[in-house]
């Protein structure tokens, strides 16, 4: 009986450990054929912890994402998708985990500075939400300046790329919120 007990236990533990890695990615019935992740430079792997934290949000809090962002996630800094993971983590923190309502201002300021340092971030509304939450913590002049710099940096990113440049006219309205009067 003991042998059977240990056999079952070993199989169960092996099964659990194997699955706990969440390494298995099965495409659904693809709308398009999905190329292996490593052939699409920049694409965030489906099993990346940030993706898991978002699609299993009931198991996490903003503190979990924040801790992960500042520690383990930094090990991805040489990966082609690092900037994308930072952007997605920021967006998830603000929109899913209500960062501006839950976290202290120093944490919000950390993410504003992180986003401000990136050459291109698509989440202007979320950036502005964070800046507004910093009113009273940062001087208004600093808030306005950071928003202005974010707009100019994004515009420069578009301007420096022959592929992105034609898109600026269509996209700039998304970033106009950075220049809005209510930040002043």
């Amino acid at each position: 009986m003991k042998k059977i007990f240990f056999l079952f236990l070993t199989i169960a533990l092996f099964n659990a450990c194997e699955n706990a890695q969440n390494a298995t990615i099965e495409a659904g019935i693809p709308l398009d054929k999905v190329a292996p992740t490593d052939t699409n430079k920049g694409q965030i792997p489906a099993d990346h912890p940030i993706m898991n934290m978002c699609i299993e949000r009931e198991n996490y809090t903003w503190r979990d994402i924040d801790r992960y962002y500042r520690t383990e996630m930094q090990q991805d800094k040489d990966k082609s998708y690092f900037k994308n993971v930072k952007n997605v983590a920021f967006n998830v923190l603000v929109t899913v985990f209500s960062l501006t309502e839950q976290a202290p201002p120093e944490v919000i300021a950390y993410y504003v500075e992180e986003q401000a340092a990136i050459d291109n971030t698509p989440f202007a509304n979320e950036f502005v939400t964070c800046l507004k939450a910093l009113k009273g913590y940062w001087p208004e002049a600093k808030i306005t300046a950071v928003a202005q710099q974010r707009y100019e940096k994004t515009q420069a990113f578009y301007a420096n790329s022959s592929i992105w440049q034609p898109r600026w006219e269509a996209h700039k309205s998304r970033f106009a919120v950075l220049l809005a009067d209510d930040l002043k």
């Binding site: 009986m1 059977i4 007990f5 079952f8 236990l9 199989i11 169960a12 099964n15 659990a16 194997e18 699955n19 706990a20 969440n22 298995t24 990615i25 099965e26 495409a27 659904g28 019935i29 693809p30 709308l31 398009d32 054929k33 999905v34 190329a35 699409n40 430079k41 920049g42 694409q43 965030i44 489906a46 099993d47 993706m51 898991n52 978002c54 699609i55 299993e56 949000r57 009931e58 082609s80 900037k83 994308n84 952007n87 997605v88 967006n91 998830v92 929109t95 899913v96 291109n120 698509p122 989440f123 790329s161 022959s162 592929i163 992105w164 898109r167």
Partner: protein
């Protein structure tokens, strides 16, 4: 005692163990958008039970063919699964 042990083993093996894991599913392409969601362990992406939340991310390429996140939308897991597995 042996019956109790057997019952515990059966429970661990058949009920608890599958709850420890899940399968991540995705479909689409960076340009059209990647839909990501999860189903339970060993479940089929299209017939399994989708978790509550899914994600839809679109990308734009640069000259070096690196993809940059352009939009990200949190959607329900069921909507994600329906998007990846259209009926029929």
């Amino acid at each position: 005692m042996k019956k109790v042990q057997a019952l515990i083993l059966f429970t661990v093996f058949t009920v608890v163990s599958p709850l420890w894991a899940k399968v991540n599913c995705e479909c689409g392409s960076p340009e059209s958008g990647i839909t990501t969601y999860s189903v339970g362990d060993h479940q089929n992406c299209c017939t399994g039970t989708a978790a509550a939340t899914g994600m839809f991310i679109t990308y734009l390429p640069d000259e070096g063919n690196t993809w940059h996140v352009d939009t990200q939308t949190v959607i329900s897991g069921t909507a994600a699964q329906n998007g990846c597995c259209p009926p029929g």
